[in-house]
């Protein structure tokens, strides 16, 4: 083996192919491209929605038409043409499924390739999975166990039919239709997503999990998640996302709303691995997501994200700390490689007294990628004794990538305590040689160093997903040494 330089390291990183780039050949029911009021109505009709929902969508569509795309993020891309996208694509398995045996074997194969054989998960990991493939939720497991505790966990389309009072009350209450361009678009055309309600005082006995995947070419995925934790309840929720490799850019514009009522706690974890584009920067998913949670008195919301995919990421999972003594947390690892661009971070809005927030952001950039942290910490005049701690660390690999930090701090109350720390480091040849000398090859050494760097965040993931996330980090950054 010759001299292994940083150049080789970079090359090696760039040659890493996307592991989930397969396409499942199942018949799907897909709308022609384009967006207008008729399409919005058709989506609503397809899903058999009540009139109030159709109206809600149309209202959102009218708002969206008047809006323009935000341009402030530190990302460069060709804007998607919104009239060239098909806004609905559902696998053609029309029949309602009661058990996994009835699921299309092709679909089950896809799940297997994703490494989430549902049967296995059912038996081994005690995880309830609600899988959204393209746009329709296909299989919901563990429903019974959850029902016994009064927990509702179902596709949002079902919740609209069966729990309209909850949907009407909370949908759009945290992320209003007018919030931003992509949130408005999502409100108009969202196809499916998950709904979850934890009753008063109930601790959800298992991790709830949704697996999203974009399959059909030329479709956008607009899922909508609404999670309500009633007073004194607890839930841990995980979403994982993948998409097959495609040349064109696919659009993903999701909205997630969390409501933590008094004394409730929500832990929301994301492992995002949408197709990042190839090594020339062609294709990949545009991931424009609005995620926000509201904390009432003594409530806590904790966002944990491991972001390794997507060509463009625009995402700021946020907490509105409305109630006194409420707590918001944001733990993030974002990896960009090749030509990926990520502009991600959080907003912590302190409204109540004694509110506390923690932000730990770890950005890893390789190849020609750009990775930006953008975060807002806002202390309102009424929020006495608010506290925030922010830490933003960047790790660079090679000299063609960039790491950027945009912290915004707005303090309007003198009693606030704000701390911000930031570091930037590089994986050095010295570190690699040290590992090599101890018998650890370069590939393994990078994995070790990266996992060490992201440890504080990885530790926050639910046990059964932490291992998967670690593997994903390794996959995203390594090729086979050779």
């Amino acid at each position: 083996m010759g001299k292994f330089t940083e150049d080789d390291l970079k090359k090696e990183l760039e040659t890493k192919e996307y592991e989930y780039g397969f396409y499942t050949d199942i018949e799907s029911d897909k709308f022609p491209v384009g967006l207008n009021e008729d399409v919005v109505i058709a989506i609503s009709k397809k899903k058999n929605e009540p009139a109030w929902m159709t109206e809600w969508r149309l209202d959102a569509f009218r708002i969206w038409k008047e809006m323009t795309e935000p341009e402030w993020a530190n990302v460069r891309y060709t804007k998607p043409s919104f009239q060239d996208i098909s806004y609905y694509s559902a696998p053609k398995t029309k029949k309602k499924l009661d058990s996994l045996d009835e699921v299309d074997p092709e679909l089950l194969k896809t799940f297997e390739k994703l490494g989430i054989s549902i049967g296995e998960q059912k038996r081994l990991s005690n995880v309830a999975v609600d899988i959204v493939m393209d746009s329709v939720s296909v299989a919901t497991t563990f429903k019974k166990t959850l029902n016994e505790r009064g927990i509702i966990f179902c596709p949002i389309s079902e919740a609209i039919q069966n729990h309209p009072e909850l949907v009407k009350k909370y949908m759009g209450s945290i992320v209003p239709k007018t919030d931003n361009f992509y949130a408005a678009l999502n409100s108009a055309v969202f196809s499916d997503g998950s709904f979850c309600y934890i009753p008063k005082g109930v601790t959800c006995p298992m991790e709830l999990s949704t697996y999203f995947r974009i399959n059909e070419g030329g479709t956008g995925q607009f899922e909508r998640t609404l999670l309500i934790a009633d007073e004194g309840s607890y839930v841990s929720y995980l979403e994982g996302c993948t998409a097959p490799a495609r040349d064109e850019n696919q659009l993903h514009a999701a909205v997630v709303e969390l409501i933590a009522l008094d004394d409730a706690e929500i832990k929301y974890s994301t492992v995002q691995n949408w197709f990042p584009g190839d090594k020339e920067g062609k294709g990949g998913v545009y991931n424009f997501v609005t995620k926000r949670g509201l904390c009432e008195k003594n409530a806590k919301i904790s966002w944990t994200q491991v972001e390794t995919g997507s060509a463009i990421t625009w995402k700021y999972p946020s907490c509105i700390l409305k109630g006194d003594n409420s707590v918001g947390e944001f733990y993030s690892i974002a990896v960009t490689n090749n030509f990926q661009q990520a502009d991600t971070g959080t907003k912590m809005i302190h409204l109540g007294n004694n509110t506390k927030s923690t932000i730990i952001s770890k950005g890893i950039s390789a190849g020609h990628s750009h990775n930006s942290y953008r975060g807002l910490v806002q202390i309102s005049p009424r929020a006495n004794n608010a506290r925030n701690f922010s830490q933003c660390d960047s790790l660079l690999m090679g000299d063609k990538c960039g790491a950027h930090t945009f912290p915004y701090i707005e303090v309007k109350n003198k009693s606030a305590q704000i701390e911000h720390e930031a570091t930037t480091s590089k994986i050095g040849e010295d570190q690699l040689f040290y590992c090599n000398q101890r018998g650890i090859n370069t590939e393994k050494a990078i994995a070790l160093i990266v996992n060490g760097f992201g440890k504080e965040v990885l530790n926050k993931l639910p046990m059964e997903f932490a291992v998967e996330a670690q593997k994903l980090l390794e996959i995203s950054l390594e090729g086979s040494v050779g």
């Binding site: 083996m1 010759g2 001299k3 292994f4 330089t5 050095g428 040849e429 010295d430 570190q431 040689f433 040290y434 590992c435 090599n436 000398q437 101890r438 018998g439 650890i440 090859n441 370069t442 393994k444 070790l448 160093i449 996992n451 060490g452 760097f453 992201g454 440890k455 504080e456």
Partner: protein
Amino acid sequence: MLKINNLHANINGKEILKGINLEIKAGEVHAIMGPNGSGKSTLAAVIAGKEDFEVTEGSVELNGEDLSDFAPEVRAHKGVFLSFQYPIEIPGVTVTNFIKTAINETRKAKGIAELPAKEMLQLIREKADLLEIDRKFLSRSLNEGFSGGEKKRNEIFQMAMLEPQLAILDETDSGLDIDALKVVANGVNKLKSEKNAVLLITHYQRLLDYIIPDFVHVLHNGKIVKSGGKELAYELEEKGYDWLK
């Protein structure tokens, strides 16, 4: 065990090693001494396979096998260990996790199954006790915020865990107070056997009071200019290096 023949090495086109010849047999302790810039650390790095250096002539053989074409990790798998003069920090990776990975990667390379967690833990405890290392130390991030003494002790701990055939200790005594030096030297002495060999690289004779060498070599300007027994170290301490130039 180790045989170095007419070794020449460059960095950025500048020749640092200018024809080194050295043979170390199993069970022996050799010391290489010399003034700053004589090429001591370069020699250590070249044996370990650091790729910043270009070997232009000569060879390094371990047990009759030429190491030149082997990557550093392969040399490590074959039993070469280098205790670094300036051990590197790896934040977030614990001492335990690091050594566990090192051992299992070495086993993997040799086609042996991973060491079961229980045995690993036992081994770690045993070696930590040998070197008077506090258990709490084992869960700290590798070399991050370690004192000079802690870093060096950690190097010797890793050596104890990996049980190399050839241990090269590069300026292990620098930055150590006398108590730490005794602990480290004591550890090295306990690990010494008929089957392995030690190459000490040092500036001062001080370390050699505690680890007694069988041979002492003086390196000057990229060449070994004098070799002798342990008494040579005392002579150097007394007269300095100038008389050899």
